[in-house]
């Protein structure tokens, strides 16, 4: 089916053109750069909505609507490498979400980065990122997806390290790139393996695609030597790439450090879109991953990540770090949802999370902006009255994240995941871990709210002048917050158990009211509500009764369980572990190679140089002594012989006479006696 897919390639192209034009601008032109970027993404949003609409139609046979364009790209031998793009419900929804949230964040950045001198460069990178992300979403070929995946990684590197003269930012950008690269190795291997098994990297290609029935049934029967199914192995390899991009353990270490970038970057890339790319990949490859036991790995890793990250978030003091770990935790939830419940469950949480996490990050950015660059929550406080709009929207986001019942989207999406985990036939472990995660999420979000917005202002270093100067942010910054808050509330209603519109949308069915689902879902809903309330109360009990204002300042948990607190604060010492093992090994290898290069290869080069020099010296000596010397010697001989010859004509007559006499005598002798001799 062609249809709307014929022009869907325009959607990534608009921001790409904006990025190219901005990159080639001769000097800083702020209005043009930001105008181009926002204009391009708005255009993409419009086109995304236009391509979304056909996906809402329902065909009679209740098939998933899918619009494709495939073409031959590169000739390999007798066959071709095909690329293509498509529009199906999942990608259409993603397009709308990415371009909408992206557009809001672009607008926010105009205000946030107004004082930065590299304004144009920022918008160029943002547009590049948007183009790559949109391209990733519309890709119908794993190869095209991978290309856009890598460009997204590049844009992330450029944006994290935007303030590259800060060593921490440069190191964080490098760390992000390298860590995701490690995941990408797995993805590449999986891709190559899949291609070799199925002969195609295109997802849906009229029966020939790698996610279509023929290919999948051919794969399903194969096993490896150790008994593991080929599908499981490929799934695990592809999941490696997703784990790197989406911050699952053990490749999560880059995400908190990526907070060194500007806050809009954190909001866009590390909350709403890029990290969701991993989830999107798993969702795309779900038909393949559901064969074999790949999804079990996904579910367990997701559950563990959720709890692990949430536990770290409890002990953090940087406002953005808390949100970063929260993101990792929620990504774990998404993976858990994909693993246990299917595409719709995981994707729904992705969508809701995109909105409320972007909201939370932008709100944090507003707080930081208002506190004149302060990021430590221990030095904030009392912003409830100083920045009311920010407080209100942040509150909405917090409750959505924690999963407050009924009115907040996070509740519905997380509940769907917990329900799916509960009904998972293989194990109840992920479900319990999910519940624990919910408890911790509610706890640390309450803690953060209490630290930042309640109590009195504790910005000691900047003194009274600052506390007088903390005010609400500009409308360009608060307006997106309000919009996102709105969506954080309303979007949840698309995925309630009684009216599973989203689920049906993804599957291509029409949604029906299903009141019977309510009875199934009610126990889980009730349980999660209770746990959220317990978490919130615990948070209030630890921090809400004036402990924060005490001095000397000490976190309640630190007083309660100091060893555990320090372990959590040090992020379970994972970074230190990596530094001691992999990095140390890498360093040792690098030093060995450097030694090899400098001593041995360098030595060889020096040896050859010395030999060449020696040869040159030898030839110079030869030229000097032998050739020049010989020449000079010959010349001297010549002049001396000239002297000798000239001495023969000395004007001495007697000599002449004697010589002539001798000659005549000899001649005479020869003439007269020559015959007899």
């Amino acid at each position: 089916m062609n249809g709307v897919a014929a022009y869907v390639w325009l959607i990534p192209l608009c921001p790409l053109i904006a990025a190219a034009v901005t990159a080639l601008l001769p000097r800083q032109q702020r209005r043009l750069a930001s105008g181009l970027a926002i204009g391009a993404i708005s255009l993409s949003f419009l086109l995304s909505v236009l391509s979304f609409l056909p996906c809402l139609t329902r065909t009679a046979d209740e098939r998933v609507p899918r619009f494709l364009v495939n073409f031959d790209w590169v000739q390999l031998g007798s066959g071709f490498l095909r690329l293509g793009w498509m529009v199906d419900p999942m990608s259409a929804a993603m397009l709308v979400m990415v371009s909408f949230v992206g557009g809001l964040i672009f607008i926010y950045s105009v205000g946030y980065m107004a004082n930065d001198e590299n304004f144009t460069r920022f918008f160029c990178y943002l547009s590049l990122f948007a183009a790559a992300m949109l391209g990733l979403v519309v890709a119908n070929s794993l190869l095209l997806l991978f290309i856009c995946w890598e460009i997204v990684g590049l844009a992330s590197y450029l944006l994290i390290g935007f303030w590259f003269h800060k060593p921490a930012a440069a190191a964080a950008a490098r760390k992000a790139f390298v860590t995701t690269r490690i995941g990408d190795i797995g993805l590449l291997l999986g891709m190559v393996w899949l291609y070799s098994e199925t002969g195609s990297l295109v997802f849906y290609d009229e029966g020939r695609g790698c996610l279509e029935q023929t290919a999948l049934s051919a794969l399903a029967s194969k096993t490896l030597a150790g008994g593991m199914a080929v599908t499981t192995s490929i799934s695990i390899l592809i999941f490696c790439g997703a784990a790197g991009k989406s911050g699952q353990i053990p490749l999560h270490v880059w995400l908190p450090d990526a907070m060194e970038g500007p806050t809009p970057v954190s909001a866009l890339i590390h909350a709403a879109t890029m990290v969701a790319a991993g989830v999107f990949l798993v969702a795309r490859m779900h038909p393949l991953m559901s064969l074999g036991s790949g999804l079990q790995v996904v579910a367990w890793v997701g559950a563990l990540t959720a709890v692990f990250a949430a536990s770290i978030a409890v002990a953090q003091t940087d406002i953005k770090r808390i949100l970063a770990y929260s993101t990792i935790s929620q990504l774990g939830y998404m993976m858990l949802g994909l693993g246990t419940g299917g595409v719709a469950v995981g994707m729904f949480h992705l969508f809701t999370h995109a909105f409320f996490k972007a909201l939370l990050f932008l709100g944090a950015g507003s707080v930081i902006h208002g506190c004149h660059g302060e990021q430590d929550i221990r030095r904030m406080g009392g912003l409830r009255k100083l920045m009311p709009v920010t407080f209100a929207t942040y509150g909405v986001g917090m409750m959505a994240l924690a999963g407050f019942p009924l009115f907040f989207s996070g509740f519905w999406s997380k509940d769907a995941i917990l329900h799916a985990a509960h009904t998972w036939p293989i194990s109840k472990g992920p479900f319990l871990l999910g519940l624990l995660g919910t408890l911790l999420t509610a706890f640390y979000m309450t803690r953060q709210m209490l630290y930042v917005f309640f109590g009195t202002n504790r910005s000691t270093t900047r003194a009274l002048a600052v506390s007088h100067g903390i005010h609400e942010s500009a409308p360009t910054m608060t307006m997106p917050l309000v919009v996102l808050a709105l969506f954080s509330v309303t979007l949840g209603f698309l995925g309630t158990p009684v009216w599973p519109w989203f689920d049906a949308f993804i599957a291509g069915r029409s949604a029906h009211w299903a009141l019977h689902h309510l009875t199934e879902a009610l126990p889980t809903m009730g349980l999660s509500t209770i746990i959220v309330l317990i978490g919130t109360s615990a948070g209030w009990w630890c921090y809400g009764r004036g402990q924060i204002a005490q001095s000397p300042f000490r976190d309640t948990l630190a007083g309660f369980a100091p060893r555990l607190y320090s372990l959590l604060r040090d992020r379970w010492r994972v970074d230190e572990f990596y530094a001691a093992t992999f990095q140390a090994l890498n360093q040792a290898l690098a030093e060995l190679c450097d030694l090899l290069d400098r001593r041995i290869w360098g030595g060889m080069v020096r040896l050859i140089t010395a030999a060449a020099e020696g040869f040159c010296a030898l030839s110079r000596w030869a030229d000097d002594q032998v050739i020049n010397g010989g020449f000079e010697h010959a010349c001297r001989r010549l002049s001396r012989s000239g002297g000798i010859l000239s001495a023969c004509q000395d004007g001495q007559i007697r000599n002449y006479l004697r010589v002539v006499a001798v000659a005549v005598v000899l001649l005479m002798l020869w003439l007269l006696m020559g015959e007899s001799l």
Binding site: G651, Q652, N655, A661, V664
Partner: protein, 171 residues
């Protein structure tokens, strides 16, 4: 006859040798004159009286006197040049002369045709004059020309040139 020959030859050769060996130039010139006289005597002995007397007139009368005059006119200080070029050693000359002598002697001795006897003949001056005017008139005229040239040339060469001498002295 051989005795006569011997008596004539010995002084001639002795005088020649003396002329070549003497340090005193006047003595050498005088010995040369004696040698010329001896040769004239030999000419007479051999029957060519005209030649003998011609020899006396020209050689002894003119050439020997000329030699004496030259010796007397070129006396004086001899400036030794500070640098002497390398000389071929004088025994070379003597050896060359001796070898020439040896070669000639050997060739004379080893040719038998020289030993045929003959009758004597007397040279008459008239014969000489006849020959000069008939067979040898061209050489005679040429000799006349030569003599004229020699006369003029020698006079020019020996002429004291006062202007040229001043010009030649370049500092």
């Amino acid at each position: 006859m051989t005795l006569m020959l011997f008596l004539l030859a010995v002084p001639t050769l002795a005088a020649a040798l003396a002329a070549m060996c003497l340090r005193n130039l006047v003595h050498a010139a005088l010995c040369a004159a004696i040698c010329f006289t001896g040769v004239a005597a030999l000419f007479v002995y051999l029957g060519a009286e005209f030649m003998g007397f011609a020899q006396v007139i020209i050689y002894v009368g003119a050439i020997a006197i000329l030699l004496l005059f030259a010796v007397l006119l070129t006396r004086g200080f001899e400036t030794l040049s500070p640098l002497r070029a390398r000389q071929v050693p004088w025994p070379v000359g003597v050896m060359a002369a001796l070898i020439t002598l040896a070669v000639m002697t050997i060739s004379v001795v080893s040719s038998p045709s020289l030993l045929r006897p003959r009758t004597a003949m007397v040279l008459r001056t008239r014969q000489v004059g006849d020959r000069l005017m008939t067979d040898y008139v061209l050489p005679m005229e040429a000799i006349g020309l030569l003599m004229t040239a020699v006369l003029i040339g020698a006079a020019v060469l020996a002429l004291r040139d006062s202007n040229g001498a001043k010009r030649r002295r370049v500092p």
